[in-house]
């Protein structure tokens, strides 16, 4: 009896998570798949016709927005690494007694809702606003230069909004790095650069790996940044799904696009995990 209980314990402990995922993920996903194959409209109702043709239809109609979203997602992720890694590094190794304070400072802007943060960018980056105005006045920027309503604004907006998801996992890993390992590298005549490249960086890769997942997935599927900061040709696939759903009430179309996007992201993540996966990272650590 006790043995049985011991064996069952981990499963029982995992049960709430399974129930949660079952109700809020598996059931809706099946509903979504089912919905995507229906035809009809909101007035006459939707009937199940197993209309698989919807998939090639939505891909050929929206491949441009899908590719653009993935491109924006990749750019925002790279930008997050470029900005977030040094920040995490500095806090982990040079933060001293105030590490928690610095982390709080990183998170502080995110206590405000994403929409308000994004909208405040519109104010800051207005063509003649507090940032661009003076730069134009002293001739550093041409008179008609703008940041808002451009691709740049969308990508930077995405990177800004998801930055903590890059900083925190990298910080968590760097924080665990044993300083004696780094010192050992120095003792073996490694330069600061070599110590970083051969010791610290490999040890931090699991954090980067997690950060990339946490930033890339939500930023590829985002719609707020494109609609608030974007211009005429910056529509992301999230915006398309949103308007198919709410404006057109084309539930099957919206469901099909969601599925396509999800499949692409899953395939992408698995290949990424395989290429750069945690296992290899672990090997590096062990080796």
């Amino acid at each position: 009896m006790t043995r049985l209980r011991e064996k069952a314990a981990p499963y029982l402990l995992a049960l709430p998570a399974w129930i949660w995922l079952g109700i809020f993920f598996v059931v809706p996903i099946i509903g979504l798949l089912w919905m995507s194959l229906m035809t009809g409209n909101i007035i006459t109702g939707f009937q199940q016709t197993f209309n698989v043709a919807i998939y090639p239809e939505v891909i050929s109609a929206y491949w441009e927005q899908i590719l653009r979203s993935l491109g924006y997602g990749v750019s925002a992720t790279l930008l997050c690494i470029a900005v977030g890694y040094p920040v995490a590094y500095w806090i982990a190794f040079h933060g001293g007694a105030h590490k928690t304070t610095y982390l709080l400072l990183v998170l502080l802007p995110f206590f405000v809702t994403q929409v308000l943060r994004t909208i405040s960018w519109k104010f800051l980056l207005a063509d003649d606003g507090v940032v661009l105005g003076p730069l134009k006045a002293v001739g550093l920027l041409p008179e008609d230069a703008r940041v808002l309503s451009t691709t740049l604004a969308v990508v930077v907006g995405l990177a800004y909004n998801f930055l903590p998801f890059m900083i925190l996992p990298i910080y968590a890993v760097l924080e665990q790095v044993d300083h004696r390992v780094v010192e050992a590298a120095y003792d073996l005549y490694a330069s600061r650069f070599h110590a970083f490249v051969h010791v610290v960086l490999p040890l931090s890769l699991p954090g980067v790996f997690a950060g990339v997942l946490l930033v890339f997935v939500p930023s590829s599927a985002d719609y707020v940044n494109a609609s608030v900061l974007g211009g005429t040709n910056n529509t992301m696939i999230g915006n398309i799904i949103q308007s198919q759903y709410l404006v057109n009430n084309a539930y099957p179309t919206a469901a099909a696009i969601t599925f396509v996007l999800m499949t692409i992201l899953l395939v992408g993540i698995f290949s990424y995990a395989k290429a750069l996966g945690t296992e290899r990272v672990m090997e590096v650590q062990a080796g």
């Binding site: 409209n41 909101i42 007035i43 609609s227 057109n248």
Partner: protein, 412 residues
């Protein structure tokens, strides 16, 4: 206007709400409602026939309370009109500012109405447009009994009783209307704007704002091509889309906006833009800006937010009584003083002028300005230049074709 009145209802409304959208903030709520509908696969269309009016109202009585769902900032927070209603009739009003934009409100109530469930409101304000058309086609709105609508019959002007979307007011009576025209900053444009063609002028490259709403942008594309939207067809839409595509690809359009065009216009990011009348009236009043609003020579559009009764209302008699109460000229005047959009009751103008004559100084001037504003009480010649939205046949799926043509422009 009294000094203790909150400063700028239409401006605040512009900043916080957006008639059609507010998508940025509230889309999440709408999406989750729609997702729930999906999860339950509760999206069977009804397509039921309109229930018979007399049958609906037979045996129904006032219950002494009514629940009113409205847009934010569409009534003085003190609710003086509702207090007077309660004084006169004894009916208590529960007022909720629960409507943020049409698509997500529709997404929220549609599954409930489809199941015949109460939506928590007996009276709701719905903009004319695709959602209203769908609600009517689905049989989700109670047919109105004219016997209760004495004030409306007596005081509403003909422009609000002969609408294209609900001719004869079978399901709707207007709450307030507005005009879609062009707003511009004369200092930036350097000249007066008079025509829709100005929105296509290469001189304003990258400085033009257009609306993202399919119906709004379609209207202006059609004006540009000399087509009247009211009775347009597929070929007209394609011609309009062609012109709008060129406008976009030539880099003239900076972005497609919901109601968020106001700030960029004030900041000077855009110099001229499609705009709603009430917004500009209030921005100027509050920010001291010098923006101008013009109904272009080709025409503008008249849109209307309507009071409707959901078919599952628990207190429909109280709801229709309140509906009619708001058409008494002094009540309508009081509403207009706060809302600043077009008032459907012409007599309210006299009430406001009477009230102004009892005041003096700045207050008198302000109130007179409001009463004489063509954007609040348009003249017949103003109305003559205004077009209605194309009413799309949602049962035939016309909206699908329409939306896909114009979303291909705004969502490229």
């Amino acid at each position: 206007m009294s000094k203790n009145r909150p400063p700028a209802p239409a401006l605040l409304r512009g900043l916080t709400r957006a008639r059609y959208s507010r998508r940025d903030t509230f889309r999440l709520a709408g999406l989750s409602a729609a997702a729930l509908a999906l999860a339950g696969c509760g999206v069977e269309g009804q397509g039921q026939s309109h229930s018979d009016m007399t049958e609906y109202w037979e045996g129904r009585k006032s219950n002494g309370k009514v629940r009113f769902a409205n847009w934010p900032l569409y009534m003085d927070p003190e609710k003086p009109e509702l207090k007077r209603f309660t004084e006169q009739t004894g009916i208590e009003v529960e007022y909720h500012e629960s409507i943020q934009d049409m698509p997500s409100w529709f997404g929220e109530i549609q599954p409930l109405l489809a199941n015949g469930d109460d939506i928590g409101a007996d009276l709701m304000v719905i903009s004319n447009g695709q959602e209203l058309t769908k609600l009517m086609a689905l049989g989700y709105l109670a047919p109105l009994n004219r016997e209760y609508l004495g004030n409306f019959t007596e005081f509403a002007d003909e422009y609000h009783t002969m609408s294209a979307y609900d001719y004869g007011n079978k399901y709707t009576v207007p709450y307030a209307s507005g005009i879609t025209g062009i707003a511009y900053n004369p200092e930036r444009t350097g000249r007066e704007i008079t025509s829709v063609k100005d929105l296509w002028d290469p001189a304003f490259k990258g400085r033009v704002g257009m609306m993202a709403d399919p119906q709004e942008i379609a209207n202006f594309g059609m004006f540009y091509k000399g087509i009247s939207p009211d009775d347009s067809g597929v070929d007209d839409w394609k011609a309009a889309a062609e012109a709008l595509k060129k406008q976009r690809d030539d880099g003239i359009v900076r972005a497609y906006y919901e109601q968020d065009y106001i700030q960029p216009l004030v900041n000077g990011d855009i110099w001229l833009t499609m705009a709603w009348s009430g917004d500009i009236y209030q921005v100027n009043a509050e920010e001291g800006s010098n923006l101008k609003f013009v109904i272009p020579e080709e025409g503008g559009t008249l849109w209307t937010d309507n009071m409707t009764i959901p078919i599952t209302a628990q207190n429909p008699v109280d709801a229709i009584m309140l509906m009619d109460f708001l058409y008494a000229p002094d009540i309508a005047a009081s509403l207009t003083e706060y809302i600043n959009y077009i008032c459907p009751v012409p007599h309210a103008k006299e009430v406001l002028l009477d009230r102004a004559s009892e005041l003096s100084g700045e207050e008198k001037e302000e109130l007179e300005g409001l009463a004489n504003s063509p954007l609040v009480f348009p003249s017949d010649s103003d109305y003559a230049r205004l077009h209605n939205y194309k009413v799309l046949d949602v049962e035939a799926g016309e909206d699908k074709e329409f939306n896909s043509i114009f979303q291909a422009i705004t969502q490229a």
